[in-house]
Amino acid sequence: MKIAICIKHVPTAENVEVNEETHQLIRDTAESDTNPCDLNALEFALQLKNATDGTIDVFSMGPENAMASLKKSLAIGADNAYLLADKRFAGSDTLGTARVLAAGIKTHGPYDVIFTGSESSDGGTGQVGPMIAEIFGMPDVSETVSVTAADGGLDIKKRVEGGNMLLHVATPVVLTVPFGCNEPTLPTLRSQRQANKADIPHVDDDALAIDDKTIGMPGALSIVTDVHSASSGRQAEEISGTFGEIAGRIGELIEEGRA
């Protein structure tokens, strides 16, 4: 089974602040890592690879520091990695991002399965996976929490309220995977060291046959006009006093709430 997976290198959320004057995000670029649920998606890709004697190709659109996530993926068990990097990609909304990733995937495809995480921890739209499916005319299953090869296709569990839908889907298909549905394999020191030596190709806009008007800033239809610190305007009532008094008040509140 030929498997593709899209991963995103994201800033770790807690380190993001807003410059009040410029409304720009202050990102500590040193503090970034692979989007958490992408590792859950990679875990399913590994399971399918092992069960079907398959291969995994990893694609990431982003700046140079995304190399860290690609190398991590290789260390975990992916076979090939590609960094889709070009200043013309910058400013893409979800439509543009999906087009760039799909173009990269198309160059090395066709694939039987394309994985993405459910959503990124920074933008959190959850749109890119299904958009890629639409570009390829493939079905998509969101909230995939289990996947096994069966009867020429895939048996899938899709998480919904109260349980899992049991589905069978013909390939090719796009699957999006939520955080926490499996335990991701981690790189070993040795595999990471090996992966760090890998020569990961850069793929730029010229290598992909995309209409430049549909990606980057020119293609973006969703525009951020302002960014500001959130203040809910709401503030909790403080419980103060000695620890004994605090504990007493908490006890009262629980009894009131329980009643």
Binding site: G129, P130, P139, G163, L166, L221, T225, S240, I250, R258
Partner: protein, 318 residues
């Protein structure tokens, strides 16, 4: 049928209860723009929802009857809904920010090449040169940041978290149009449903004690467990707690975990990122213990205890 479209999601459990709130959000737009509200839905036996969709303020209900099509077959439904939206002349379509609805409309956005925002919590509408302009406000990067978004072109697709809106009242008299498009086969087959009961015990708990990253230090988590036992509460936690193996993933509360609806929720060492607070529904009394007076959780909780959790827990266990 120009105006504002509102998508009524139908899942295995029937019509999504967020529809009423979504209509209230739509009214904030139409109050300014003077447009009409149309509810759109697609699925099998769709006509039975006619009355469930008749909210006050809704002018029209458009039902796409798709016999035998499951809500998970987004490859089929996207095509039919895209046709409806393309012909509608809507200036915007409001969509509940659920996993399946957002996947469905992401496909539609790509199919029609129209802009889409995600997880908006409020809208600000103005009319500029006779055109409805909807500014969309959404949280991003955890709890701390709000982003204002505009979409270029129309129709725009806006997925919304509607917790802040009161549901609209039923009892309107909209006109109803039933469409019966030809459907192609889906690549997805539904074979059954597997109920998960383990998640439900936390889901149904009346009192929940939530542990955050701060609970990883010393014997804090042990104290939290003892305290939960003392007061008969369920123990839950944030994603870092699950990530690091302190709690099972089924006990992780938040956007990517379980949703809880307790009467009382006490958090220890929880910073209050929106990915976590999204998992608490139903307006419980929330008591937050955190040593950081600036923790975002204090903007979400009802009661704040600014103190070291170890001291507080020790006292609570006496």
């Amino acid at each position: 049928m120009a105006g504002i479209g509102v998508f009524a999601e139908i899942t295995a459990n029937g019509a999504d209860e967020a529809l009423g709130s979504l209509i209230t959000a739509a009214k904030t737009v139409t109050d300014v723009s003077g447009e009409e509200i149309t509810v759109i839905a697609a699925g099998p036996d769709i006509e039975k929802y006619k009355e469930a969709f008749s909210f006050q303020g809704v002018s029209k209900v458009v039902l796409c009857d798709l016999p035998g099509v499951s809500f998970v077959q987004t490859d089929v439904i996207a095509k039919d809904l895209a046709d409806v939206i393309e012909k509608s002349g809507f200036s915007a379509v409001l969509v509940p920010a659920t996993h399946t609805a957002r996947a469905l409309f992401a496909r539609i956005a790509m199919k029609l090449n129209i802009g889409m925002t995600a997880d908006c919590t409020s809208l600000r509408t103005e009319v500029v040169d006779g055109k409805t302009v909807i500014h969309q406000i959404k949280p991003s990067f955890g709890a701390q940041i709000m982003v204002d978004c505009d979409i270029i072109g129309q129709p725009q697709i806006i997925t919304m978290k509607t917790d802040d809106y009161e549901p609209a009242a039923l009892g309107g008299t909209p006109s109803v149009e039933v469409l019966r498009p030809e459907t192609s086969g889906s690549a997805i087959t539904v074979n059954g449903f597997e109920e998960i009961s383990s998640a439900n015990s936390l889901h149904d708990a009346k009192i929940v004690v939530c542990a955050g990253k701060g609970a990883m230090a010393d014997d804090n988590f042990q104290l939290i467990q003892q305290y939960a036992e003392k007061i008969g509460a369920a123990v839950a936690g944030t994603r870092p707690m699950a990530d690091n193996g302190w709690i099972p993933f089924s006990s992780q509360v938040g956007q990517s975990g379980t949703v809880i609806r307790p009467d009382v929720c006490i958090t220890f060492g929880v910073s209050g990122a929106i990915q976590f607070t999204e998992g608490i529904k139903g307006d419980p009394v929330i008591i937050a213990v955190n040593s950081d007076p600036h923790a975002a959780i204090f903007g979400f909780a009802d009661y704040a205890v600014v103190a070291d959790m170890h001291d507080v827990l020790t006292e609570l266990l006496k």
